[in-house]
Each structure stands twice: as C-alpha cells, then as structure tokens.
Symmetry: C2
Subunit: 422 residues, 2 copies
C-alpha cells in the first residue's frame, strides 16, 4: 500500500507551528503496518495544493491531507481538492445542525463565517468531529482513498482514532505492529551502535532506524525486504537488549517516566522530588503519567537559596560553605524533601543550566544529582552539553534513569552505578 | 528566491521523531525574508533521496537537506547526493583531526565507524560542528546553493546559527524580518477572526496565517503580493492589537512566560507557585526563561492531600470540607506558598486533568485557578476540553495570562476579570 501525507499550512513553512501531524500519523499508521512513503508540506495556496495533491493522487493508493479545512479565509483545501477531482461541493444540513449544537453547548452563538463548513465534496463521507467545529472527509474514488483531516492536533487525533481507524480496519488495511522498538538510555547513539553493530551484521535484511532524544536512543527494527517475521525481529530485539544490559530500557513505546511509575507501583514505593535547575520539569514529566498520584507525593522547586532553606530546611551554612550547586546541597535536598513528605525515594537536582552562571570548577552544564532512600543518600556529578533547555531535559532524564536502574537492581538500598552523560 | 527543504529520515515517517527541523528552519529563514516554498520528508533510502533531491534542485535556488549525514549504516545522504551531482567524495584529513579531538575532549576513543565522516563531496565547504561529530556541508553549483545539515537538532541549530547564517548574510540573501506577528491569549481562533475580520477586509493584499496553541492564538501578517511595506503591516498589527484589547499579548515571538517575567522584573515583584494538577508544568515553563531566578522564588507541587498539608500548611479540615479540587483549596494554596516564600504574587491550580477523577459538579477538565497578592486572594473556575496533557497546558497558560493581565492593569491589587477558557 503506497501512502503519502500532504500537510497544508503557511504556519508550518514559516515555523509558526511544528508539523506534529507527520509524527502522529506516521506512528499510528506504521505501528499497524501501513508505512508512509512521503510527506510534503506546502502553504495554503491553491496552485501548490493542486499540484501536490495531483502528484500524490497519481502515485499513492492512500492520500491523507491535513489542514486548510477550517472556516477562516486562508482555508482552501476543501475547495481546491474538490476542483482538482472535478467534484461539486454540496450543502449538508446535518453538518450545520452539528455546528450549531457545538456552539450552543459552549453557551456561544455560532459565528457566521463557520457556515462554510457545512459544504462537502459530492460523494465524500463526513468524519464527524466530537470536540471541535471542523469535520474530516473520507472519499473513495478510482480504487483510491482520500482522507482529509483538520489541522488542529487535538481534533485531528480524535477524528483519526474514532473515525479513520475503524474504517481502515473494516477494509483490512491495518494490522498488528510490524516493527520492534528497543528503547535505550545512558549511551550516546554512536556507542549504542558500536555495541550492537556486530550483532546486526549477523542478521542480513534487518533495517534499523535510530532516534536520539535527550539522553535516550530509540532503535526501531524492521525487515528491509519483508523476509524476517515479527518473531525473528523480536528475537533480534532480545539479543540487542541482552547486549545492552542495564542500558536497555524497554521494548515498545513506554516513556521512562511511565516505566519508573510502573516500577514504583509494583514495589509499592513512593517518590518525592526537589528541583533547582530543572525548575519543575522532573515533577511535570512524572505527573504527565495518568495515575501518578498513586506514588508521587509531591515536589519542591527551590529555585533560590531562600526557598531551599524555607521549603526544605537546608542549613544556610551548608549552602554558604559549599555553594548551592554542590554534592552536599544535592544530598541535603533529596534528604530534605524525602523526610518532609515521608517518601521511600527522593530525587534532587542542582546545577548550572546556563546560559550564565557556573564557576571554574562547575562550568555551565554541570549538574549534581541526588538520590535518597530510607537507607542513605547518594550523589553524582554529571556534565551535559548543549543549551539551557537541553541541559534541563537531560538532567531530568538522567534522574529518572538513575531511579529506574536502582529500582531494577533491588528494592531499596544502593543506587545503580552507571549513569547517562553527554 | 525559491527555497525548499528536504528532510531525510525513516524515523520521521514512522513517527519515532517529530520533524522539528521544518519549524526551526522555517522560522529562522522566514523572519529574515527567505520564504520556504516546500518541505518534503522521505526515508533514508537512495532512490527516494535521489528523486526528491533532483526534483528540488531543478526547481529551487536554495536547497537545504537535513539528516542522513551521520556515521551509522542508514546514513546515505552524503553519498547519494554526491552521486546525483556526479561529484566524487574526497578524504579530508582536517575533518578526521577534528573528530579525534572531539572524542578526546570527552575522554573517549573515536569509534571506528565515525571515520566515514571524514569524506566530503568535491567542491563542498565544511560547516564545522562545535558540539557534535557530524559536520554540515555547503556547496555552490550552477548558480544554486545546497546546504546539507545533520539531523540531530542541537547540532543542526548550532551549525545553522554559527555557519549558515553568516554565509547567507555575506551573500545578501537574508534581510530584516518581513512579517508582523501578533500574539493573542484568551480567545479561541474563531472568535479572534470574528473580532478582526472586518478590519482585515479593509486591507486588500494582506495574508494572515494563524496558529492556535494551548489557549493562545498567533497571527502572522504578511503582504500577499509584496505591495504592503513592513511599516504598513505594522500599522495593521497595531490596529488589530487595539481591537483585541486585553486579549492582545505582544508583537513578535516572546513567550507568555517571558512576558510575565519581564513584567515582574520591571515592577521588581516576585512570584511563587503551588501546583496540583499541572504537576510542575507551570514552574517548568517559568524557569525555561533564563534569568527566572531574579523573580521566581520557587514552587510546590502538592500532588496529594498530604503534600498540601505538609508543604503548604493547608488545614486538613478545609480539604475534607470542600474537596481538594475547590475554590477554597485553590485560594489556600496560593496564600500558603506566597506566605511561606514571602512572594509578592502567588499562583495556584487544582483540578481534574483526567482521564479519571472528577465529580458531577466538577467533571474532568474542571480547574480552579488561584491568585494571591499582598492585598488578597482570588479564584476562578475554568473548564478545559481535551486530553490530560491539553488540560494541563491550557491551565498553565491561563494562569500565566491571568497574571499578565493583572500586572498590566496595576502594580498590585485586583486581578483582571477576563480569562481564557476553552
């Protein structure tokens, strides 16, 4: 099945918005065996939309478009593609009724410009939008399928799951996952491959895509020529996992925070955090996980010395003696928050995220991580490269990874040795 | 100038990684007057890379590629494009020296597979990579420019700013910003247009791209046919701002947290936060701003009732009487953290982000916001649609926007009335 995605939107070409549609659709479709060949992004401009649509429609069997279906004057996708396919736009009273009901539900009157959404290309089915105003469209023609989705992510995702997937399933176009994903932490991409390349060299026909992100590397294994079965791919995945040892995180798509969450729940342990340079990022990632309240007791963002003293009871003399960015303060932060909230584990971080700050001994990028259990406290000094945002992200990842390794090794006690850097 | 971007990477088509390159390059180039016409994403596959490169090279005057320049076996961009242009790859001893130095600096030995990076297409200039191993390449040929950049974002950004921009400037290809951006908060996209459309109708030749994101809407004004001057665009921007009133946030690219930061610094005021359902997201956004330590005293993530009692001294009876998600607890949280850290302003949030939780009176999506100043405390009940992540993001945005409106109105005292919803 040849599949292409056309993404329309001036705001994507000028960087006003990130093209997250590609990642969403690519992930959702490829994990079900529908592999995307190509994505083209052009502006909301009739000539470009027409040209790209006709080129994709010629080549692919399924074409998905996103964007340009709304009510504002720059939305021209519906009209342009209908014209390219020589289809009339027909008025649909049911759409207008839905629109009116949507605005009534919000206690608002329907704006006049929205009325244009009540038109659909002749022969197209409506993909109704439960959470917004712009419906999607499904059109079958010449043995091909055209799926038109709105550009707003939350609406596009809802329509995709509720309307598109069931239709693809009914046509037997989607299947079970076809690739095997291996998630790693603690090693740079180059070193991951240095470790596993000899193994990959023994398996002809295996295709590996790798993606590094903030201290982690994901590997996706696929059969290059459809000769390896899913079971064989899993076999290679297991061997890679064994070769990677502690640097192997999981198969599949679970996030590091989800894994730490599961490990804490399994062991019935609780967690608290004290953050300086990450400023709430670690707590935010943990509470991204639905159900975090089962194990996450809370956290303190002690961005100033005074907050460290007030909220965590760290002695002022300790900060004066060693500096706020020090092993001693990291340990005191973890110990302080753990004691205050009575958690089994406590994580802490203090460092120089940049762009300013830092000392000769602790330049920008230097971060002290702390881990306190009921048995004691530990600290690690790490140096991260990159900008403020990257340093913050990598520090939060390193803390989650340290806790993961510790939880894997034993219930309480000694934290793991190996630690992500870079 | 016709400009196209080709993005190579299997991991982008399978959704393993988001194509953030388009947003970065689109933004950096278009603000300097170089407008992107088209972005194509295909996999790391010779046939596709060759086909898309030759098509773009035929049509555009500047072609930028990202991805596939690394050392792993799926990186084939350098070789494939050299072949398409009938250029040899030549060994460059200087590159190998740089690579060795880079790994030495990290206290590591250079992995053997990295050696392939020491080859560049004949006639191409090296764009050196200060923070990683994969250099970029710059090639001029047939009056066109080819810019090849590595796929890893932090390295791509650094090379772009340090190597690409200076070369584009030297050739007079980049200029001052050409568009005017108007940032709004508190109104849904449809209602923003309902408010400004009559005004836009009076200005022929104006092109508006809009982008909603978590409770805000950005508008980008540009001259559709190059007939409006930058000054005229600014004039329209000013009129839009006046029409929008308090819902106007700023011109340009400043984030809401940056604006709140500036307002607090100007007024020499400090801020503390207490978060329940946003779980650190608000603190994290505030500390994304370099220099946040000047005004941000700290925060508390009180995810459990016990944490609210322990860290903020909220009476247990208050929580039992009204529930943790209530106006009373929101007020007590803001008051508690403000008092504990001695801040001029304190923000708080408690709500049901979902997917589970909620009551008949307060279903999932219900959020109570709190604001405490030295003069008193206020609270607002808001309901947000969408998934857990969206509710959390919109709640953090609504708090920042409430504080912005309050700071704009007067130094301390009464918070602003109008509040973002939806």
């Amino acid at each position: 099945m040849k599949l292409e995605i056309l993404t329309f939107g001036n705001e994507l070409l000028s960087g006003l918005r990130t093209n997250s549609h590609l990642a969403f659709l690519g992930e959702e479709l490829s994990r079900r065996g529908l592999h995307l060949q190509r994505n083209v992004v052009v502006g909301d401009e009739e000539t470009a939309i027409r040209r790209e649509f006709l080129a994709s429609w010629e080549r692919a069997e399924i074409v998905v478009t996103t964007g340009g279906l709304g009510a504002t004057s720059d939305d021209v996708t519906r009209e342009t593609i209908a014209r390219a396919l020589k289809l009339d736009l027909v008025y649909d009273a049911n759409i207008e009724k839905d629109l009116e009901a949507f605005f009534r539900g919000q206690g608002k009157e329907m704006p006049e410009i929205v009325r244009k959404l009540a038109y659909r290309p002749e022969g197209a089915d409506l993909l109704s939008n439960r959470i917004g105003t712009t419906p999607g469209l499904w059109l079958e023609r010449d043995g091909k399928i055209l799926i038109m989705l709105p550009g707003r992510s939350s609406e596009m995702h809802t329509i995709f799951h509720e309307q598109v997937l069931p239709r693809l399933r009914a046509k037997d176009l989607v299947a079970e996952e076809e690739y095997v994903q291996v998630r790693t932490a603690g090693l740079e991409e180059t070193f991951v491959f240095e470790k596993i390349q000899p193994l990959l060299d023994l398996v002809p026909g295996i295709a590996v895509a790798s993606s590094p992100h903030a201290g982690m590397v994901d590997l996706r294994l696929r059969s290059a020529n459809a000769e390896l079965s899913h079971k064989q791919l899993e076999g290679v995945g297991f061997q890679i996992a064994r070769r990677l040892g502690d640097d192997f995180v999981c198969f599949g798509h679970r996030s590091l925070e989800q894994i730490v969450c599961d490990l804490l729940l399994e062991r019935d342990r609780t967690l608290a955090v004290a953050e300086s340079c990450t400023g709430g990022l670690l707590a935010s990632r943990l509470t991204d996980v639905a159900g975090a309240s089962e194990f996450f007791l809370g956290g303190v963002v002690c961005y100033t010395n005074d907050a460290k003293i007030q909220l965590l009871g760290i002695p002022e003399t300790l900060i004066n003696q060693h500096g706020a960015v020090s092993a001693e303060v990291a340990v005191a932060m973890a110990g302080g928050v753990g004691e205050s909230l009575g958690s089994d584990y406590a994580l802490s971080v203090t460092g120089f995220a940049g762009p300013t700050g830092g000392t000769e001994e602790n330049p920008v990028g230097t971060v002290y991580l702390g881990l306190a259990t009921r048995d004691g406290s530990w600290t690690r000094k790490v140096h991260f490269t990159g900008e403020r945002m990257h340093v913050r992200r990598k520090a939060a990842t390193a803390l989650l990874d340290w806790l993961r390794r510790t939880l894997m090794k034993n219930e309480v006690a000694q934290p793991a040795e190996n630690l992500a850097e870079g």
